[in-house]
Symmetry: C2
Amino acid sequence: MLELTDFFPIWDQLTTAQQKRLLDTVRPQSVNAGATIHNGSMDCTGLLLIQSGQLRAFITSPDGREITIYRLLDRDICLFSASCMIQSLQFDITVEAEKNTQFLRIPSDVYKQIMEESAVLANYTNQLMASRFSDVMWLVEQIMWKSFDQRLASFLLEEAALENTLTLKITHEAIANHLGTAREVVTRMLHYFQAEGMVKLTRGTIEIIDQVSLSRFEDVEK
Amino acid sequence: MLELTDFFPIWDQLTTAQQKRLLDTVRPQSVNAGATIHNGSMDCTGLLLIQSGQLRAFITSPDGREITIYRLLDRDICLFSASCMIQSLQFDITVEAEKNTQFLRIPSDVYKQIMEESAVLANYTNQLMASRFSDVMWLVEQIMWKSFDQRLASFLLEEAALENTLTLKITHEAIANHLGTAREVVTRMLHYFQAEGMVKLTRGTIEIIDQVSLSRFEDVEK
């Protein structure tokens, strides 16, 4: 199991007192798939160090549509669950467990205090934010320059890689919530993929039967 | 004219040596409207402190379409022109002057060095990045949840506020490059706005004649 120190390549550059404060206050926690771990109206949850499992961060439209902003796997750090630490972050993000997830939680006030005295930790946090920033810029490029069929093809291949199987157990509704669209749009495109022989749809599953065509599809420019 | 210290509310918390290093290396610079100040392939330009003028940061699609990510006005700091300081930033952004612009430039290596020793400066930089992050999240929400007519209405009202006039001198092409679409799409929607009595189009200008309807338009949900 991953430990606190595994998440901080800069651990040795913290003072003994800082290390002790982190070690004394960090708490293991686990949540079931489907649990909401953080949202705009919740208290500042803290910094989450993912030991195992999978989280997704998403935003919601005024009428309830969702789009996934990024996903976090083991070894990742969820920074925006501690967004209260950073005043200038002016947006609401929801973080939800996609799988049963185990993580270590560092209280926001403890982390913030150390960040204020340690340039090393502040700069490391900067790098974490820059990674998430890059994820969001990637998303903007996807939304702007890719057509929906390409984004769907990419998503199916990403899921297959994450789940390590070509038979995906995922609803059309869940895919729509990842990609920021309506269920019917997903269903329509999946039927087109099926007609083209790239997937096979059965109740509750999507089987990828032509990975090569699907990845070729993904590369075409809009 | 704005001075170096005006850009750093945390100035007094830097050491005298750090202040001196910044004062010794900062250089005033000015560029004409239209100049490219930074792009992915250029050297790391440095941190730019905008004294007057207007910059826009945008990304470009493989086939040359553009979309504005955010704009910077006087008192703003352009951080991504010093993106080499932050390894985890994995995207290319272009920064271009929209108006004749005067700024102070701090060399990236100087800024980085001080950031590595000063928790105060590192945390301040964090806040800068968080502000830009919030801009991008706002953009994602606009692209995802707003229809194009609403985004165009918002853009025209934003321009009118920035230029302090209801008669905008801007080409349909330039608007398309802000909003990430094709010129024809902009032209078509502007003609619709004109038919609805909200704007009046003449060669090279767009006159806003019904601000109220345009702002009402902007608020409707998709």
